[in-house]
């Protein structure tokens, strides 16, 4: 592997390198690649250089859209800044800010070696075929179905995840009806100087009624039609005609 021209960047070292998002299995993979390119020790990362190269790589690879890469980029930049901070030479308590990153890289490297080993095992296994023809299952009653709660809950989570729009809009039985709530409150204001929150709600309120009434109250208060007060903490709200308006 002779390098005819001096590479300027890690990626420049491999001309014809196919740049694809799936070329790397994440930011740690890219970091390992950069270190390998430069034949650098994981335990002694020149953080400033690697951070710059990482940023350049995600720029060149068009990885900007991948949140995982951006997250790592910001960590590297922070590390770089920490490494630049002056420190006392004989500061015993100083902890290398790179320690955590080094630990993760070593751990990831190990996982990747295991993955390679597992890939080879799977390939070896794939060279042996199991029996292709399987006799039809016996016509006896099938064994009892296996079903457990975890599976069901997982299914629930999948269903929830698959629901496209924000869920809360869909479970509301009918749209908020702020207009009738406004009319109801205005009617109450006609007859009463002041009344309580529960009176404003009306009998047997639904969640829709509660929300509609709340919005109507806030809107009327904003328009100066009424005043909202709460005598003590957590006490029911008291609604009163706005005095200024009452006199007007």
């Amino acid at each position: 592997m002779a390098a005819p021209e001096a590479p300027t960047t890690a990626l420049g070292a491999t001309p014809g390198f196919v740049v694809r998002l799936d070329a790397f299995n994440g930011p740690l993979d890219l970091l390992l690649h950069l270190l390998r390119e430069e034949q650098l020790e994981i335990a002694d990362i020149p953080i400033a250089r690697i951070a710059d190269q990482f940023l350049q790589a995600i720029h060149e690879l068009g990885l900007n859209q991948a949140a995982d890469y951006l997250d790592m980029a910001s960590r590297l930049v922070r590390l770089k800044a920490q490494m630049l901070l002056p420190r006392n030479v004989d500061d015993e308590g100083w902890e290398d800010p790179r320690a955590e990153l080094v630990r993760r890289l070593l751990e990831y490297q190990q996982i990747r070696e295991i993955a390679v080993w597992m890939g080879r095992s799977a390939e070896r296994r794939a060279e042996r075929f199991a029996r292709g023809y399987l006799p039809p299952p016996p016509a006896l009653p099938p064994p009892p179905l296996a079903l457990d709660l975890l599976e069901l809950l997982q299914a629930v989570e999948r269903v929830i995840a698959a629901i496209p729009s924000p869920v809360l809009h869909r479970v509301v039985a009918r749209p908020l009806d702020v207009e009738s709530a406004t009319r109801r409150i205005e009617a109450l204001l006609e007859s009463q100087e002041q009344f309580g929150w529960l009176d404003a709600l009306g009998p047997r309120p639904t969640i829709v009624d509660v929300l509609s009434t709340l919005l109507a109250l806030l809107e009327l208060a904003k328009r100066g039609v009424l005043r909202l007060a709460q005598p003590t903490a957590f006490a029911p709200m008291v609604i009163a005609r706005d005095p200024a308006r009452a006199t007007a």
Binding site: G132, P136, D148, L149, L153, V159, A162, R204
Partner: protein, 194 residues
Amino acid sequence: MTPLAQLLEAALFSAARPLTVEELSTLDPDATLADVRVALEQIREHYDFEQHGVELQELAGGYQVLTRPAHAAAIERAQFSVRTPKLTAAALETLAVIAYRQPVGRAEIEEIRGVSAGGVLRTLQERGLIEVVGRSEALGRPMLYGTAPTFLELLGLRDLADLPRAEELTIALQPHRPEPEGGDDAAAYVEAES
């Protein structure tokens, strides 16, 4: 066994269907049809002479290695060919919707899951996990589904109230009642949201 017989045996074992002499001969470019026939005869004799549990059968114009009928009953009793049946992901998801939203019609299930549910509903009904619990008042009076007693049995639950109700589930799969029963309901809902 000769190398050719070995190769043929491996191929016959791994194939899902009977293989013809012509097909088998493609395995080894040096083998003639006659070579293949000889090797097949060797395999057959070996299986018979050494009293293997399998035999070489000629069927559908080809050859297949099959277990001897003498063992069929024992194997059937042991039911090795099937793992304990499990529900597919689609069936589980449909079951989940029904469990948390019953009584519920097919249209609503399909709306939530975004795919048609006919086949899955039938499977779940055949399995005895769900049943028709009524008919909706909506146009066409579609059937409404609910979970059957078997569902609770399999999960080891006493009743539906034993189903875990994580907050997110309660909100996302809250049954929308056309005319809520008022105070209680609203309170429960607000609680779940907060």
